[in-house]
Amino acid sequence: MTVVAELKDVTKRYGDKAVVDNVSLQIQQGEILALLGPNGSGKTTILKILAFLENTSGGEVKIEGETITSKKEENARLKTTLVFQKTTLFDTSVYNNIAYGLKIRKVPKEEQDKSVRRALKLVRLEGFENRPARKLSGGEQQRVAIARALVLESKLLLLDEPTANLDPKNAEIIEEVIDAANRQNKLTIVMATHNMFQAKTLPHRIALMNEGKITEIGEPTEIFGKLSKNIASFAALRNTFRGTASLTKEGSTIVEIGNGVQIEITSQRQGETSIFINPQDIILSEKPIESSARNIFKGIITEVTDTGSLVKLRVDAGKPFTVQITKRSFTEMGLNLGHEVFIVFKASSVQVL
């Protein structure tokens, strides 16, 4: 295995606070490595360091075995490309956005055209060349941003929460694109995420992060198996709970996650179990609704985050749940902080990690 990039004892301090604390990491050719951890655990900073957009306070960064000093940064940036969490586009056409990096690399015009067309096909935006990029929908904009990075065929593609704040359809397209780019073009990818589901399906390896440190690194199955040891890093992740599973008299399985909250799941299990519920799979209602869903809890809205077309809510139902609904539903239901609501989800929506 060839090592594409390497961090050696890298530290980044802002004032007294170390946001990245003595991190060492090797990124193998052709792998997808996910940095998984709560907000503020240092994921984005690591990506920025690998993109040479952020200086380190200490340690070494190597690309293809070569230590990158500040003099070599400009050149090294031609090899690594970061896609930001907050979609940023140039105020011009889709074509000019995607071709920007190619123009910098002085790629002949004909090849530029071909590459742009190929990239647009990959993100399913064929024929969008002449559209003004900033007039596209949020999801389409993020797909343009991904295409703009893919077209460069960098040694290392860095993705910062590539599907955060996106609706499920756009998120799915982007996940497919990432997967295809990795499989077909053998692209090496490092992505930051706090989406457990994404972390479970996409990457070859996961690095668990907490408070600027990598607490665990390994294959997804291995990492999820060791969950209990890293409960601290997971406590801050959304909708991830740990509890004891037991069989009921009726033959269903419930997981007791504390504070009297019992979640019904479909898989047969007993003993210590970690579960995850995708925020999109949770339905919110003002009254207890009659449905086939097995899990219904009453809670209070304790936090509201506006992320564009979607609104993220934190609902305290004995345990904190994160729910994601469209802004339109949010407005129509007249929801706000302190409102009493019911959260509903199927037993089959609960993923056992």
Binding site: E74, T88, Y100, G101, I104, P132, K135, L152
Partner: protein, 239 residues
Amino acid sequence: MVDILGGIIEAFQLIVTGDPMLYGIVYRTLFFSGIAVILATLWGTPISMLLGLREFRGKSIVKGLFNTLIGIPTVVLGLFLFLLFSRGGPLGFLGLLYTPGAIILGEAILVTPILVSIMTTAIEAVDPEIMKLAKTLGASESQASIAVLKEAINGVLLSNVASFNRAIAELGVALLVGGNITGLTDVLTTAISRYTARGDLDLAIALGILLMLIVFSINIIIIAARKAKMLLTIGKSPQ
């Protein structure tokens, strides 16, 4: 009353018949102001990029200075430059006084504060992520700065138009360092003052109308250009 009406009629005759002296003045005005704006853009753009993109000590003082200088009375600047360029002055050896060069240089200095102030504001308004974006896509420091400048293009254009309007409409600098020499350094504003003083009201009015026409048409062209740009799908999206 009759005089004014007569003057206006005479003026239109001069404009329509293409009086060579009249159009010589128009040509010089456009030429001097145009070159002055180009000069000011040449040295004002790097200054604006420095002020808009970098952090350094005393930055707010420099910005404040440029803002304040926008309002400098043209006569005061004209006087200052006169003293500088006059034979006994520190730059007297250049022999610039009462030449087109003096007017161009003077007007370029005059419009620099307004150009720098508007351009800096436009650059500062660009999303700071644009710089990082350009860099991660492979741009060097200077290429990334140009990417930012492109994002600020509307403001850059506005700074040029405002500067041109200021240059074309000012009197003090052109009069004091240009000397208002007929056929050499007289421009619309200085010629208007001369013909008014002489009582050649028809000429003064004709020049006044032309000055207004130029200022208005430049602004109309800019508005049209912005609309055309939007039709070409590269306009700013409403946010």
